[in-house]
């Protein structure tokens, strides 16, 4: 049977695996820009990226899960830059610099994306492994999905990104 031709839409599908501050800025600025340009946007959050859509709540059920919940806890505002982290100093410094230049904060950019209709999904498998339940996510995050769902979204998207 011949494969069906997949029609590409004006749509952006993005995997957000990183939890780094700088990469999250990139992810949400691109998502907001695409939404503003009339594009459908899907963001698929996995592994370190999950904290970007998390509320500031404790997670974890097992010993390791609770430890991870403590060491990688908090919400998107806990994201450190991928370089010059210096135990949180880098976050503070970049936060100051961005504030001085009037750049929107990370949580503001994320919430704007929700407002603009960007669809955000947690990866079910990494949520299970990291013991982060759907209830830990902010309002506006869709029910968890898997890789099949992401691939189907990406297949019909003119733009696909991995961050």
């Amino acid at each position: 049977m011949p494969e069906e031709e997949i029609q590409k839409k004006k749509k952006l599908s993005m995997v957000v695996m990183s939890g780094d501050m700088d990469k999250l800025f990139g992810a949400f600025i691109i998502a907001n820009g695409a939404a503003a340009m009339g594009s459908e946007v899907t963001m698929f959050f996995t592994f370190w990226g999950l904290r970007a859509i998390k509320k500031d709540v404790r997670t974890g059920t097992t010993f390791f899960g609770k430890m991870l919940g403590m060491m990688y806890g908090g919400d998107i505002m806990k994201a450190n830059p991928s370089k010059f982290s210096f135990m949180g100093m880098g976050r503070w410094m970049f936060g100051k610099m961005m504030g001085n230049h009037n750049v929107a904060k990370l949580d503001e950019l994320r919430d704007l994306a929700v407002t603009l209709g960007v669809k955000m999904y947690g990866c079910q498998m990494s949520m299970d492994v990291m013991e982060i339940p759907q209830s830990a996510f902010i309002d506006g995050v869709q029910e968890p999905v898997g890789v099949g769902f992401f691939i189907a979204e990406a297949e019909e998207s003119g733009i696909q990104l991995f961050i």
Partner: protein
């Protein structure tokens, strides 16, 4: 030229950085009627590339994009 035309909506985008000037234009375009215009003033030099790209991608018309006294002034017309 944009000074002579009276826009249906004035947007002050001064001080805003990427992606906000474009996001604000996009959020406000629905509040003017089809055929209506927005005059937006930004200070972000990147908006000189972004707002024309936004107009092209969304199928709206960029009437003008000018640098006036260090500010970036745009006239856009809602086409659909």
């Amino acid at each position: 030229m944009s000074e002579e035309m009276k826009a249906d909506l004035e947007l002050d985008l001064k001080g805003l950085l990427c992606p906000m000037p474009m996001v604000k234009v996009s959020q406000n375009i629905a509040s003017v009627a089809v055929g209506g215009t927005i005059r937006a003033v930004a200070t972000d030099p990147g908006s000189m590339a972004d707002i024309p790209a936004w107009a092209k991608s969304t199928g709206n018309e960029l009437i003008s994009a000018e640098k006036i006294d260090g500010e970036f002034v745009f006239m856009v017309k809602r086409l659909k």
